[in-house]
Symmetry: C2
Subunit: 354 residues, 2 copies
DNA sequence: TCAATTACTTGGATCGTTTCAAAAAACGTG
DNA sequence: CACGTTTTTTGAAACGATCCAAGTAATTGA
């Protein structure tokens, strides 16, 4: 007998001398089968090198895949998701729970960029940083549980998000409390287009921040500034993709006298430190920098970057648990915290007085 | 009519007044269907909120999932894979190709740790850093194409690997050429056990390096040393998990007079720089460090770490292309290169003479 | 020993598509 | 309009398991 084709459960059943149904039970509900028979079936499976029920066929009947899908943030393809440090932390959190549950993780590009989501075989979806609820349509249509991240889905939708408003507030307040009064902001640009410089001015709208969550950070900054009689509209902003290496130079060029920088992304915070040092400015002596998201790079830069910890891993864990134990849909909000490291210091007296 | 259950293709076909087969063709081979009919079917699908063929059923018939699986390195669960910087780069490379092909990526724990691989719905497997060919059994049994990484699978098995021997050689030669003569090595421990100090001695065997690829690095070091009349067995080695933060201190404690450090992992290289600075040693003035794998952290440390670039992303791209265009199985070997950054400098004269 | 109870097994229906041979329709031509 | 081609459409048979009602065997109690 040539083993041309892969063994099916029916082959195993035949060899073991039992019915297909019984063989199926051996693999799916072993308790239902007499140990002796079970043994025989396993032996037959062994001999045929049968690896267990075909996942596709099982899925078909059972409707369960043993996998959950993480959908990349807006405009991201799979590779972008894997490259992004804060999303990596989020995925790690999700994966920790999946490892416990014994399920696989599928990474899926943003549906706006690729239709791959429609052919994704998963039991549930986690939509990473969401802009519109519409991305969740495929999940709703397929009646699969899902969670949206960093977005308020409203009634009846699971969501987890960080209180970015408070995060922004804490970042700005930290610098203000250190006596800083001359600021510049690095905000988030979703696309890979060149960085944009937004000069101070009262007419700036929400578009100077890339995602809903970034607008919230900005509001947090605004509130902290207001408490010190400053207006965010008077502060220069550069909007750039998190990996745009030219952005740091652009910001430092347009805000040469700022003593404190607020970055909405941790990577840009790290770049700002590097670029500042390159320009001969000492961090934190001449210039303080605060980033957002406590990524590993923030800890290894020199000096280590002070950041707002957006608790990405925890966010991932919570999101995963939500889809694993489907219950009343809830909107969970996490509290960020300030992690003070070496990139911030009191403003020098000379700067304070200005 | 209550829409309790999700619409099936047969519902769409009925509503559109065509046969099931034709409706199927509309979604799978539109060219086979008259535009007018196609239109009608699409309209019916629209009305029923039908999202396209059920992936599970399609998979069942077609045998294609539109996803490929990346299996985590030995002993790694999914979360470990996502946390490891050099494996991240590898996965990014894979993902880039998958994004082009429009397929999803599934991350699967090492079969030795979790059986999730048996229920993984993928069209092909990429086995990340492999120790034994046996991990590929599930792929062989299911007759799915696969590639093993950093391992020679022998005849008839696809593989991609870095020439780690040359990598090790380049790293050691770089330091030797700079005049260094007193070394210490940080090698790789697969488990989370405490770091192990291996004193110099002729009896040390392969176990002082964790994976096949690490033994190759060690051989590269040995060759370079031999060219300068040195013996690797006379050099202290600490073997540690890449994220074991205590390992750097252990190494510097046991090799206080080394002027050059060779690390088999980039993260440990970064840690060594940090720990050395903490102990008041200047890098690269007093101490040179070379790491392996050009991860982002290597670029952002201070000073930036000199590394061997193991071309992880390229490795991922090649692995992915191999499983997408199944052809004659090949064993592809990549050449590493030395990336000189700020963590290495000529040995001081006083050290040279010793 | 027989009926009642319990513990396993069985066979066939089913999941929602794709596939493919065969039938039907449409088309072109003399 | 009858004929041969070509283009479309049809209907039934897979794909490889799970599920369940119904049947058979083993066990118990009297």
């Amino acid at each position: 007998m040539t083993r041309q084709t892969k063994p099916r459960l029916s082959d195993v059943a035949k060899l073991a001398g039992v019915s297909l149904g019984t063989a199926s039970n051996v693999f799916s509900y072993p308790a239902k089968v007499r140990p002796e028979v079970r043994e025989r079936v396993h032996a037959a499976a062994e001999r045929l090198h049968y690896l267990g029920p075909d996942p596709a066929a099982r899925l078909m009947r059972r409707g369960k895949v043993n996998a959950i899908g993480i959908v990349a943030p807006a405009q991201f393809r799979t590779a972008d998701a894997l490259r992004n440090p804060s999303f990596q932390m989020f995925m790690c959190g999700v994966a920790e729970v999946c490892d416990e549950e014994g399920t696989n993780v599928v990474i899926i590009p943003d549906p706006a960029v690729s239709p791959a989501i429609n052919s994704a075989l998963v039991d549930a979806f986690i939509f990473g940083q969401v802009e519109h609820l519409s991305v969740a349509r495929p999940a709703e249509m397929r009646k699969l549980p899902f969670v949206v991240v960093d977005f308020d889905g409203g009634e009846g939708v699971n969501s987890v998000r960080i209180d970015a408003r408070t995060g922004g507030y804490l970042a700005a307040k930290h610098l203000l409390d250190l006596g800083h009064r001359r600021f510049a902001v690095m905000s988030f640009l979703r696309t890979f287009d060149p960085a944009i410089y937004h000069p101070p001015g009262p007419q700036r709208d929400g578009s100077i921040a890339g995602m809903p969550i970034d607008r919230e950070k900005m509001e947090g900054y605004r509130r902290a500034f207001a408490e010190h009689g400053l207006n965010i509209d008077d502060i220069p902003v550069v909007q750039a993709h998190p990996w745009d290496k030219s952005a740091a130079a652009l910001l430092l060029h347009h805000a040469p006298d700022a003593t404190a920088l607020l970055s909405m992304a941790a990577m840009q915070g790290v770049s700002l430190i590097a670029e500042a040092k390159r320009r001969g400015r000492r961090v934190p002596d001449d210039l303080s920098v605060v980033g957002f998201n406590d990524i590993p790079e923030a800890q290894h830069s020199d000096p280590p970057l002070t950041v707002i910890d957006a608790r990405n891993a925890e966010k991932g864990r919570i999101a995963a648990r939500m889809v694993f134990n489907p219950c009343q849909p809830t909107a969970k909000m996490l509290n960020p915290s300030l992690v003070v490291r070496g990139s911030t210091a009191p403003a020098m007296l000379s700067n304070r007085q200005s």
